[in-house]
């Protein structure tokens, strides 16, 4: 019998991730690893991790990585790509990192059309710090800083980063995917593949926004969090290619 599916070599064998059960951070980092292996880019990969749960990958992945100050991953990646153009430089950031604290750096890097790839995890909440409201939190969704749910009069509306970056001229590839079912997992993998290929082709800024779950801070079990993505998150964050040029 031949092994047709198993753990990617980019995840260290003796380490189990510290993520909660059902957390899709692990799914995405697994997909990134599979793509790097398939494209034979493991040795060239240089990953910039954001702060938050995404930083937990640090000890767990088997390729080069660094951590940026909170929100500044795109700025650090800019420096890395400009000084080492042969590396495959990508950032891995959550919504609090990319869309809130690092909004200026993120939009500026996209506006400059930096030849980097951004993997943006959108789970609508701050995970590691304990479930505070993020810019992407849905209207009515409960968070520790909005215990009665997000109220647009007080907190505004969720931000759609793909659509915001689509106003700029420079970005090459903007896509929104999810990991809530096998078809969407496969589409996410294809999107990551294309985003990395864009960087190798020198096309400029690519971003893959991935709508994922945070069962712990949503207060749901992993199964119900899949339904929550389908029923609540996806109507607010429609999947699809926003820009491809």
């Amino acid at each position: 019998m031949e092994k047709i599916y198993g753990r990617t070599k980019t995840i260290q064998e003796d380490k189990v991730s510290g993520f909660c059960p059902g957390c899709m951070h692990s799914t995405v980092i697994k997909l990134i690893g599979e793509v790097l292996e398939e494209m034979d880019l493991v040795d060239k990969a240089a990953c910039v991790l954001g702060i938050g749960c995404c930083g937990l990958h640090m000890d767990y992945i088997a390729y080069d990585n660094t951590t940026a100050p909170h929100g500044r991953a795109c700025a650090v990646a800019t420096g890395m790509k400009r000084t080492s153009p042969d590396s495959l430089v990508f950032t891995y950031q959550g919504d609090g990192d990319f869309a809130s604290i690092g909004l200026a750096e993120s939009i500026s890097a996209a506006n400059r059309g930096e030849n980097i790839t951004v993997i943006f995890i959108n789970n609508g909440i701050y995970g590691m710090t304990g479930g505070q409201m993020a810019p992407t939190t849905l209207v009515g969704m409960k968070a520790t800083t909005a215990p009665k749910g997000r109220d647009p009069k007080e907190h505004g509306y969720p931000m759609h980063m793909c659509e915001i970056l689509n106003q700029l001229t420079a970005p090459a590839y903007l896509v929104r995917t999810s990991c809530n079912n096998p078809a969407n997992v496969n589409k996410t993998k294809q999107a990551i593949h294309k985003a990395f290929q864009n960087q190798l082709d020198g096309k400029g800024f690519s971003m893959v926004e991935i709508v994922t779950s945070c069962p712990t801070n949503w207060g749901l079990d992993p199964m119900k969090s899949l339904d929550y993505i389908e029923e609540k998150m996806l109507p607010e964050f429609p999947l699809g290619v926003i820009r491809d040029r």
Binding site: I4, V16, N181, M223
Partner: protein, 67 residues
């Protein structure tokens, strides 16, 4: 003939593999691993068709599929 194997120590019992298995091969078992999770076991191993959907859905790379 296909076979699915669970790496017990990596499993966190989220159940994504169970939900999406088209042949209901997997179920949460009654033994726990060192982290205290009741890990998934193949309860109908002979029904496995080797589609590897369980492995693709598994966040933690705990599933190996052979064909």
């Amino acid at each position: 003939m296909a076979k699915v194997q669970i790496v017990a120590e990596r499993c966190k019992s989220c159940g994504y593999c169970i939900k999406f298995c088209p042949k209901q091969v997997l179920a949460i078992g009654d033994k726990v691993n060192s982290k205290g999770y009741e890990y998934v076991v193949p309860v109908h191993p002979d029904d496995c068709i080797g589609c590897a959907i369980c492995g693709r859905m598994c966040p933690d790379g705990a599933i190996e599929v052979f064909k």
